[in-house]
Symmetry: D2
Subunit: 260 residues, 4 copies
């Protein structure tokens, strides 16, 4: 499977599980989780990065070989998201940026339109833009045309662990996408991550489900295995489900009937 | 995870994926699938075993370190199942026996009652009996009392790949069982195997989904990873799903608000 | 629809919603609910019937034109169920009897095997037996052979309002049954009752969802409408679901294209 | 229930089932379906309306007391939708307009953004605008602010009969909406229409499932009953689903235990 690489934003990744830095009991769990999960890209809210370097900086807990994916968490419109992205790049966090624009404070649903506007601006500035959106096929095509490096559709609202509630909508994106589809938000169990990969998603991002498990390190490992399982199944091509049963073992000519 | 062993029928297993010999394109795929999946127990229909040793014997394709689980496929009542079990033991297939009694030829649903009767008889004869049943809580308790080594509830009808359609019924068995619960039949994708393990199943048996994949060897590997993922998640204790969103990243005090 | 009658236990019913007497805030709600729902058969636990006629009798709240379906609630084996049935008949409750044998006190799952034994005995004694069971195809055929007047598979555990969790199992019963299939237990919403009827169920029994609604009378009316809706849809033959969209309105040759 | 009126676009409706004119085997079925279903509003594609009055006009089949809801089917951007709306009004079809802008020709998913633009323009021109959209909470708030008379979220892609696949997304709209929510597209069975109403939707629009049934008139009646059932249940307040069983009938102190 070594040659099944994910090309994302001009970089190659051999691991398809993206992780996040939020909600861990303590920052020291982060490097352990990264080692256990094999995750090669991690999202971090700019607020958590101490730009002035005066206090503890979350970046110190992230190994250099893990690609940073700063996010614009907290932004309520495109303009704010653009500002955060620029600050992140100036602070040395690299060219990758996850656009997250949220106006609804109850369900924390992304604002697709502001996200598209920010994507258009930042892609032109040379960012590798990963917009986080409600899976909406016509919008996803617009994001591609605007130069998005990937599209990140949500499975269910952030932090709910409710899984792939938008599965049929994500399936349309996967079927029609020219850029990688990274399922983000709502994935609460490894089986759900595996299901996303079986559908043909290129990667998944999991934060809450790992960070809030009793044992985040072990849960990071579990998600890594699940993503690999789902990807392998996708490549090995599963048979379709059927309405009627088909015997695995022979059912006819049993015992008595065998003797002529 | 090396010390997380499955104790089944007096034997210890470090792998929780049981496999089967049916439906492979050719027998030569079986040892490759076993190696790739790490499966330590495989079910085989007695009909496929050449007791007279005159023709090709499927047992030749199964490495000695893999435990045989002969099944009574083709039996239509308890008496036939008992006969098959005895023949299997006499033929040197060991003490394990999967009871499979099917009277319905359309959906191939197991006959719970005949299966219980066969279990009662064979457990007294010293067999390690694994009855394949519709998940029915009161019946499962009877199977335990009759001396079953495990209970094997179906996820959905054999060979349909429809997954865990009986999930709420299996959950009751898991919660109340004193013997291992091995989910058998209907599992069509690794994500479904992972989901069964996340629920607390002790193992799963997968045959059709592996044997009929384009690449059975790769699919065997995928299922192994998925079972390990689901088991690890179960042990690491997942958080509950919730109705409302919870932010992974801080949403308040953003940018402008930061400057007093 | 007047000629679409349900023949059950030798009687004809023009209404396919069976109801129950449990859990109402006060007995006075029962006749109002019956009037609003049009239900023509109601189940009542023998314990609630004052055989000695010394205290308030629930039967006083049930109009004479509604058929009584006494149930054996509280029975823990076939013998107890048989005793209750006989007492019910002697008390003038008629020949109908719903067999309910429960040994599991947590999920209150019916004991299929004890239920079958009671059915065999009571059918021979001329009762119209309606056994309440986990939907199990081979068992259902045995119940038919034993002379059951109908089979009552559960949708989900009693009183949970979780709906048709056993839908695929019930579908097998409907497809193969020679007696009416009455879905009983777990139906929490009118939409779920409608779905059972759309599948081809002959009737549904709803108690908890009506009795515990804020307004049981209005909820009884709602369930009556839903059962009629589902039945009408079943008879009018619904189209299949499809993967791809099909336009309801013309999408081609629009506006500009119209002018040659 | 006579006083439970739907206020939509300044008009009062006592019936909450909207219907459509597409896909009927012959136009003569339309007035019969309208009579059977009680539907008081029907959508019609402008293309089907003969503005020049030279050939058979579908409007002749729609009784005067049924409100017309012309739709912009065929429009591929906001400008085209606006043009169709104006033509419809000039042709005497009234002020109601359903905005339908579709750019994706495979799944026929609505283009939310073009739909919003058309809504902004037409609401200012005094139209009663009903935009058909993917359920997207921030967008729905924008549509309200733009003056939409209602929001019409899809259940699943047009004509698929796959039901409420977007249920969690629609629930957010219902919870936060200040205008009526009319679930449109994908509803294939009466049970699904009932489920939408139970959630608190204000109305549903059903076309394909009625028009392509073997008996459209009977199916129209079935949907009417289902919508009324779901609405009544919503008003009568259903109890929650629960994990564990709760007995409907008394389970303790049975028989033997009764005798002191």
């Amino acid at each position: 499977m070594n040659d099944d690489l994910l090309l994302l934003g001009g970089k190659e990744f051999s691991n398809r599980l993206l992780t996040g830095t939020g909600k861990f009991g303590n920052h020291g769990q982060i490097p352990k989780m990264l080692a256990a999960s094999g995750s090669q890209m991690i999202t971090v809210a700019l607020r958590r990065v101490d730009v002035s370097e005066q206090s503890e900086n979350i970046l110190e807990y992230i190994p250099k070989n893990v690609t940073l994916l700063p996010n614009t968490s907290g932004a309520r419109n495109a303009e704010q998201a653009v500002r955060v992205a620029r600050i992140a790049r100036e602070a040395g966090c690299g060219d990758f940026i996850k656009i997250e624009v949220i106006t609804d404070m109850k369900y924390l649903m992304p604002d697709n339109w502001e996200t598209l506007k920010a994507t258009e601006i930042l892609a032109k500035e040379g960012f590798q833009v990963l917009p986080y959106v409600l899976p909406d096929l016509p919008l996803a095509k617009r994001l591609e045309n605007a130069g998005a490096a990937a599209v990140m559709p949500l499975g269910s609202p952030i932090g709910t662990n409710r899984g792939l509630e938008t599965k049929p909508l994500i399936a349309m994106l996967i079927e029609n996408a020219c850029v990688p589809i990274v399922v983000d938000a709502g994935i609460g169990k490894p089986s759900q991550a595996a299901a996303a990969m079986e559908m043909g998603a290129d990667a998944v991002l999991v934060n809450t489900a790992i960070a809030t498990a009793r044992d985040p390190e072990a849960m990071g490992r579990a998600f890594d295995l699940a993503v690999k399982a789902g990807r392998a199944a996708y490549l090995a091509e599963m048979a379709e489900a059927s309405t009627f049963a088909r015997a695995s073992s022979p059912l006819t000519g049993f015992l008595d009937e065998e003797q002529p």
